[in-house]
Amino acid sequence: MYRYDEFDEVLVRDRARQFRGQVDRRLKGELREEHFKPLRLQNGVYLQLHAYMLRVAIPYGQLNASKLRQLADIADRFDKGYGHFTTRQNVQFNWIRLADMPDVLDMLADVEMHAIQTSGNCIRNVTSDHLAGANRDEIEDPRPWCEIIRQWSTFHPEFSSLPRKFKIAVTAGATDRAAVRVHDIGLHMKRNADGNVGFEVIVGGGLGRTPFVGVTIRDWVSKEDLLSYLEANMRVYNRYGRRDNKYKARIKILVTELGPDIYRRQVEEEFAAQRSAEKIALPQAEIDRIAAYFAPPAFEELPDASPVFEAFRSEARDQARWARNNLRAHRAPGYASVHIVLKQQGAAPGDATSGQMRIVADLAERYGFDDVRVAHEQDLVLPHVKLDDIPAVYDSLKRAGLHASGAGLGSDVIACPGLDYCNLSNARSISVANEVQAVFADPDFEDEVGPLHINVSGCINACGHHHVGHIGILGVDKKGEEFYQVLFGGRADEKAAIGAIQGPGLRHEEVAPAIQRVIDAYLALRRDSSETFIDAFSRIGQGPFREALYAAS
């Protein structure tokens, strides 16, 4: 993982000191809330329903044991003993006092962490594939480029007061696990005709009130040109993005209103006009320096199969199931990536207690090359675990209540915090998510249904990414009563699509039974068990699914 040098260190320390000064001025009344707001937001501090919330950056979702333990300590000392991992691979603390924020930032800086640009109208924390460096289908590890983008975008003076927030994601896998097509800019690493690795540049995707799948603006840009090309995009957006209406200020609206061709032409003209002194020419030695931090760990040479693991799998049904659903194929023979599902009844999806964080930290240190990832499914991942160690890892996870075995299935619901925590929300998300999870409480049924992404948002801001759930659930407020609209057909992967709202909203208590009917309809309609929900939906269309959804009324 990337380690700070003296420059990175001094900047994070300076930032913590700067923010301490801003908080101090605010608490003394020298700074009005109106003027403080953009400042605190650029440092991840939101004013939520009950308290201030701090969003801590986890660049491209990578943690190690010492970072995770520090997050656990922060949760214990300044919060209520837990943290919330988010769809953008960050972690949020919901109960930190404003006066304590500067101390928390110092604690973060002690482990090379920060909350810089996790909010506000700036370039946000860059996200990536949680299996980067571990999976079998990427052409190259995307993390060095994520780190390069992190540094370039940090305190970028020209792009610190954009029309709206700006999210960049990078993936290098044939399978897109970073949802790059629904980001302001998505970068998909690929080879050009000459075999050189560069980036497909996808612009103008996004969810929120007006969801769009991004458009490919450049089929391939070289590594050498990447930052300069990003600057050209950012400048066009900063100059011409709408500022008259915050709901029309994202780059997706600019791209849509101009049309992709005109947007592309403006970017290409801006890019072509850059003088050589304006180009960002990273020395190869600097790229190599950063890439070296992401060199593969020292994997042992192992056979593909592990007798220890085989015995574990055949020993008990629940172990076999966990192994089938929660392990991911690894590039190194004899290893796997372990998916730890943070979806517990009664808690917000993505919540982990300080105790759970410490256990995962211990496991990473002992069995996982000190590497932990946050997945955008609001789960944690140990990317590199020896198959021989899987039984020990499973036992520890089980003791911590972290052995839920439905990764990527119906119970692995993505949801926003909803009305319980958020002052934007119209409806509860957590309780609906919990009830929908209960539909899949029988493991045999959940396995029978197979891969299924369900996403719940408590309002149209779409923090639960309901537009890209195979089944999306959106909370709306109708005259003070919570209703839930259901969408079908969304997906966030390389075949990204926006789901379609099926019709009138359902009452809270109607949602789970309706989802049950839809799933039953799918099971009856599919060709065979290899046809997933989303594939069956794509083949058949919404008719029978919609009918099942409303069959009770």
Binding site: D5, F7, D8, V10, L11, D14, R15, R17, Q18, Q22, H35, P38, L39, N121, Q151, W152, T154, F155, H156, P157, E158, F159, S160, S161, L162, R235, N238, R239, R243, A273, Q274, R275, A277, E278, I280, L282, P283, A285, E286, R289
Partner: protein, 170 residues
Amino acid sequence: MPLLRLGRIEDDVWTPVGEAQELPERGAILVSLSRFTADHERLLAGNCALGVSLANTDNPADILPWISRISLIVLEFPKYTDGRAFSQAQLLRRRYGYAGEIRATGQVLRDQLRLMIRTGFDAMLIDEADAEAVYQLSAAELSEAYQAASDSSEAVFIKRQRAREVSADQ
């Protein structure tokens, strides 16, 4: 409102001249882009030092042919969260090589000063009691910069490269 130039409070010697207003004989005059566009031959032929105010929707390229004869460009922050003038300033300095004064007006708050300095502003009208001290503090708040901009800060990646070259020489 105090005018800060290069971190010092200075008198403002520039006289704004309206769209239809008669031009003074000498002095330093500040006109809008539309007045400049309509009248630039007379303006440039006169004895006055010339400044141009741009709205943040104006294109700095519109004054490019005359840029070396303009001594002041005023850019506007209608709200301090509106960062369009940062791009204008960067274009003026880095692309068009403009070397005169770039001045910020509008809602200029101390927490933007560093961003302004980095994007090429050397002057600002700022409503602060102790403007010079606030400027010094803001300018020094962050000791490094990851990216090159219009100021003299050297990007961290360049510093790292130099350190590598130095250590390779030794």
